[in-house]
C-alpha cells in the first residue's frame, strides 16, 4: 500500500464525515476490554451501539447463532463474540470453548413491537446483516456481557433506556412490564426479568462446586450449523477460517451437533433433546446446581437420570400432582411437561428467564413423550 493511497482513503473518510452533523465527536466503534472496572454504560465496551435507528456492531466482532437457542419469553437475541487480535478460542468437543483473556461476548435481547412499544411480538424475526440491525419497530431490552477476565468470566446486564440510545448497568437486575402478542393475536401481560449478577451465575455457573461462570451457547454442538452470518458456510468451519477457533478441531462434520428444534426433517427425539439440552442442562447435570434433583438433561443422559419413571425429590408444587419426571407415552402424567407449562414461580422451569409459556417448545416435548413406549411399573418390590 503506497502512502498516496492511504492519504486518499483518509481524505475520503474525512469528507464523508464532514457531511454529518456531530460526526467529529464520534469515535469509531471498537471493542475495549475492561479487566478491572465494571463500566456503567454498555457503550464503554465498544462492541455495539444504537445510533440513528440502527444497532451497529464493531468491526471485528462476530455475530453468531445457535442450532436450538434458550427460550427467553420469545425475545429475539443478537449474539456476538470478540477476541483480542491474533487470539482464538480453543475447541472442546463437549464443554464450552476455552476463550482467551480479553474476550467479550454479548447477547442483546429485543423484540419486534406491536401497536405500542410495550406490546412485543412472539413471532419476530429481525436480525443483523453486515454488522447492523435496523431498530425500526424494534424494542431493545437489555444487553448482557460475558467478559473473560484473568480470574475467569464475569457477567453484566445492561438495560436499554426509553430513548433506545444507551444501556446502563443494572447489577441488582430489573423487571420490565410488557405485553406479549402471539401470532394468533392472543395477548398476555408479563414481567420480563433482567437478571441480577447472582442470577446470571444461577445459569452460567454450570458447576455448582466451583461456581465458575461459563458461557452456555458457545459449545460445539450448539454452534455446529449453517449460519446466515456466514452464507454458504457451517458456522464452526467459518470460525476456523477466520482464526476464531483453534485447537483440536478437524471439521464441523466431525463435531457433535444438536438439532434445530424447529426443523421437522430432524428426528423428534433429537429435536426434543436439543431443546432440553440448551434450556435445562446448564443446571440439570450431575455437577450443575440442579444436581440436587438427580435429574440430568444433558444429551447423553438416559433412564431414571433423564427422568424416566423418576420420582421428584424436592419439587414441591412443581410436581403438579404428577408421579414422575417422564412417564413414557403419557405427557399429561409427566412432571417435566407440567413444569414447562406452568407460570407459577414456585413450580415453573426454568426457574429464571421465563415468565410466559413457550407453547411451541412444550408441544415438542409433549409429542416426544407421547411417542415413547412403555409406561412406569406400579409401585412395590420388584
Amino acid at each position: 500500500m503506497t502512502a498516496a493511497f492511504r492519504r486518499g482513503w483518509f481524505f475520503v473518510a474525512f469528507a464523508f464525515c464532514a457531511l454529518q452533523a456531530g460526526c467529529s465527536d464520534e469515535r469509531a466503534l471498537a471493542p475495549i476490554f475492561h479487566e478491572e472496572d465494571n463500566p456503567e454504560t454498555l457503550s464503554e465496551w465498544g462492541v455495539l451501539r444504537a445510533k440513528d435507528g440502527v444497532l451497529e456492531l464493531a468491526a471485528g466482532t462476530t455475530p453468531y447463532d445457535l442450532a436450538t437457542p434458550l427460550f427467553s419469553d420469545y425475545a429475539l437475541k443478537l449474539r456476538t463474540v470478540w477476541t483480542p487480535t491474533g487470539t482464538a478460542a480453543t475447541y472442546d468437543e463437549m464443554e464450552a470453548f476455552d476463550f482467551p483473556v480479553g474476550t467479550i461476548v454479548t447477547k442483546t435481547f429485543y423484540y419486534e413491537t406491536g401497536e405500542s412499544r410495550d406490546v412485543v411480538r412472539a413471532d419476530g424475526t429481525r436480525t443483523a446483516t453486515d454488522g447492523a440491525m435496523s431498530l425500526s419497530g424494534v424494542r431493545l431490552l437489555e444487553t448482557r456481557i460475558l467478559a473473560r477476565r484473568e480470574q475467569g468470566w464475569a457477567a453484566f446486564a445492561y438495560v436499554w433506556n426509553e430513548a433506545q440510545t444507551q444501556a446502563r448497568l443494572k447489577r441488582a437486575g430489573d423487571v420490565i412490564p410488557l405485553t406479549l402478542e402471539r401470532p394468533d393475536g392472543r395477548r398476555e401481560d408479563f414481567a420480563y426479568l433482567v437478571p441480577n449478577a447472582n442470577q446470571c451465575a444461577g445459569c452460567h455457573a454450570t458447576n455448582a462446586e466451583t461456581r465458575a461462570i461459563q458461557p452456555i451457547g458457545l459449545k460445539a454442538r450448539h454452534l455446529n450449523k449453517p449460519s446466515a452470518f456466514h452464507p454458504g458456510f457451517n458456522q464452526l468451519d467459518a470460525w476456523r477460517l477466520k482464526g476464531l477457533l483453534a485447537g483440536d478441531f478437524k471439521s464441523a462434520a466431525a463435531a457433535p451437533r444438536n438439532a434445530d428444534w424447529t426443523d421437522t426433517d430432524e428426528p423428534l427425539a433429537a429435536r426434543a433433546r436439543a431443546y432440553l439440552d440448551v434450556n435445562c442442562s446448564h443446571c440439570h447435570s450431575p455437577v450443575g446446581p440442579a444436581g440436587t434433583s438427580g435429574l440430568d438433561l444433558e444429551p447423553g443422559a438416559d433412564g431414571p437420570a433423564l427422568g424416566l419413571c423418576k420420582a421428584p425429590i424436592a419439587a414441591g408444587s412443581g410436581s403438579g400432582g404428577r408421579p414422575y419426571g417422564i412417564v413414557p407415552g403419557a405427557p399429561g402424567e409427566s412432571i417435566l411437561l407440567f413444569r414447562m407449562e406452568t407460570k407459577d414461580p414456585a413450580a415453573m422451569m426454568p426457574e429464571l428467564g421465563r415468565a410466559v409459556v413457550h407453547e411451541e417448545g412444550a408441544a415438542l416435548i409433549r409429542n416426544w413423550i407421547a411417542g415413547m413406549e412403555g409406561g412406569c411399573a406400579p409401585a412395590g418390590a420388584g
Binding site: T292, G303, C309
Partner: protein
C-alpha cells in the same frame, strides 16, 4: 365446632373489608439489599433493621463468609407475598454463611435455600406462610441442601407445603431447639449423613420428624439421631402436592423412617399422633415405581434402634381407610394401633440363615411400646404384633460434633 369456624371466617372477612384495600407494597429496599448482597465481601455483616420489607423477586447471595442479621424473627420481616419471579425467597450459594434473627414470609417457592455450602448457621429465623397450611404454599421453609457442617437452631417454620425444616444430601448436621408447626413434614432429614435432631418441637404437622432416603441422588444417607424432641399432635390433614415424597405421609405420623439406615430414636416425648408414634418403612411403601430407581439404591431401612421414648395417645385415629380398617379389625373400634408400625420389608440378599445380621436389625427396647409388622410384602394379609422379635439393642451412634468455628456454638 363448625359454627365457631364459620363465625371466625365471617369475622376475618369483615376485618378484610374494613381494611379497605391494602396499600401498595413498598419495594424501595429491594434493590438496596440485593446490591448489598452482591457487593458483600467475606467477613461482612449485613444488618437489616426492624420493619417489614417487601420483595417481588428472589434475593440471592453468592459470597462466602457473610452474615445476614435482623433484629428478631418478629421484628425484621422480609415479605414475599407480592413475589412474581424466583423459586425461593433467599437463595444462598456460598460457604461460611450465618443468617439470624429475621423472618421470611409468604415466598412463592422455598423460603430460605442454601445450596452447596460448608459451615452454615441458620438460627432464630422464622419462615412462615401466614395464611396457614395450604397446598399452594411454598415447599420448604429452611432448606440447606448439599451442605456440610450445618447448625439449624432456634428457628420457627410454619406452613410449608412440604417440609418446614428440610436438610437434604448434607453431612454433619445439628438441628436443635427449633419449632416446626403446621407443615406437611415438620423436620425432614433426607439423604444425609450424620445428623443430630434434638430439643425440637414438632407439632400440628402432618408428620412430625422424617428421616428419609430417596433414590437417584448423589448420596444416600445414614446415621441420624432423633432425641429429646417433643413430637406432639401431628394430625394436620396432608396438604402436600400429590407426587411429592411427603404427599404419601399419613396424617398423624410422629416420626417416619423411610429407607434410611442407622437411625436412633430415644428419649423423645411422642404424644397424640393419630396414626402412629413411629413408622418404619421401605421405599416400596412410598408409592414409587421400580422403573425409576437405579440398581444401587438400598430401599430398606436397616440398623434402626428405638429406646427410652415416652409415647402416648398414638394410633387412635389412623389416616387412610386401610389403616382404619386394620385398627378396627385387630384392636377394636375403641382401640389404637401400636406405637410403632413397620411395613415388614426385609432385604432377602442380606439374610443369613433366615435372619438379618444383628447389626442390620430393627431393635426396639422401649417400655410399653409395641411394634406391629404390617406384612406389606404379602399384601397386608397377616399383620402381627412382633415386639418380641425386635427385642434387641444396637451399638449407639456417636454424637455429631460440628467443626471449626461452629464447634463453639
Amino acid at each position: 365446632m363448625r359454627s365457631i369456624r364459620l363465625l371466625a371466617g365471617a369475622l376475618a372477612l369483615a376485618a378484610c373489608g374494613e381494611k379497605g384495600g391494602e396499600q401498595a407494597a413498598d419495594f424501595s429496599y429491594q434493590e438496596t439489599l440485593q446490591t448489598q448482597l452482591l457487593d458483600a465481601r467475606p467477613g461482612d455483616v449485613i444488618e437489616i433493621s426492624a420493619g417489614t420489607f417487601h420483595f417481588d423477586r428472589s434475593l440471592s447471595l453468592a459470597v462466602d463468609g457473610v452474615t445476614i442479621r435482623g433484629q428478631g424473627m418478629d421484628k425484621t420481616i422480609l415479605s414475599f407475598r407480592n413475589q412474581i419471579a424466583g423459586a425461593e425467597g433467599l437463595l444462598v450459594t456460598a460457604s461460611d454463611f450465618v443468617i439470624e434473627d429475621l423472618a421470611i414470609e409468604d415466598t412463592k417457592g422455598d423460603a430460605l435455600k442454601v445450596t452447596k455450602g460448608d459451615n452454615i448457621v441458620i438460627r432464630r429465623v422464622r419462615t412462615e406462610w401466614t395464611g396457614g397450611p395450604k397446598t399452594e404454599n411454598g415447599a420448604y421453609g429452611i432448606y440447606p441442601v448439599q451442605t456440610t457442617n450445618v447448625l439449624l437452631e432456634g428457628n420457627v417454620a410454619i406452613g410449608a407445603s412440604d417440609a418446614g425444616i428440610y436438610v437434604g444430601q448434607s453431612r454433619n448436621v445439628i438441628v436443635r431447639g427449633n419449632r416446626a408447626e403446621r407443615n406437611v413434614a415438620g423436620i425432614e432429614i433426607e439423604n444425609t449423613f450424620d445428623a443430630d435432631v434434638y430439643d425440637n418441637v414438632a407439632t400440628e404437622n402432618t408428620g412430625g420428624v422424617l428421616v428419609f432416603n430417596m433414590p437417584n441422588l448423589s448420596q444416600p444417607g445414614a446415621r441420624t439421631r432423633v432425641f429429646r424432641n417433643r413430637i406432639i399432635d401431628n394430625n394436620t390433614k396432608n396438604f402436600g402436592h400429590p407426587g411429592t415424597a411427603v404427599a404419601n405421609v399419613p396424617a398423624g405420623s410422629g416420626i417416619i423412617i423411610n429407607a434410611n439406615d442407622q437411625v436412633e430414636i430415644f428419649d423423645n416425648d411422642i404424644e397424640g399422633n393419630g396414626t402412629a408414634s413411629i413408622i418404619i418403612a421401605s421405599v416400596f411403601s412410598s408409592g414409587l415405581s421400580q422403573d425409576g430407581m437405579t440398581e444401587d439404591f438400598d430401599p430398606y431401612p436397616e440398623s434402626i434402634f428405638i429406646y427410652g421414648n415416652r409415647m402416648s395417645g398414638g394410633g387412635k385415629k389412623p389416616d387412610g381407610l386401610d389403616l382404619q380398617a386394620l385398627k378396627v379389625a385387630k384392636f377394636g373400634p375403641l382401640g389404637a394401633l401400636p406405637d410403632i408400625l413397620w411395613d415388614g420389608y426385609v432385604d432377602p440378599a442380606k439374610m443369613e440363615n433366615g435372619a438379618l445380621p444383628d447389626s442390620l436389625r430393627i431393635c426396639v427396647r422401649n417400655d410399653g411400646a409395641a411394634l406391629l409388622n404390617l406384612d406389606a410384602p404379602n399384601g397386608f394379609r397377616n399383620p402381627q404384633i412382633a415386639t418380641g422379635a425386635h427385642d434387641c439393642a444396637l451399638e449407639k451412634l456417636p454424637a455429631v460434633s460440628l467443626d471449626g468455628r461452629l464447634a463453639e456454638l
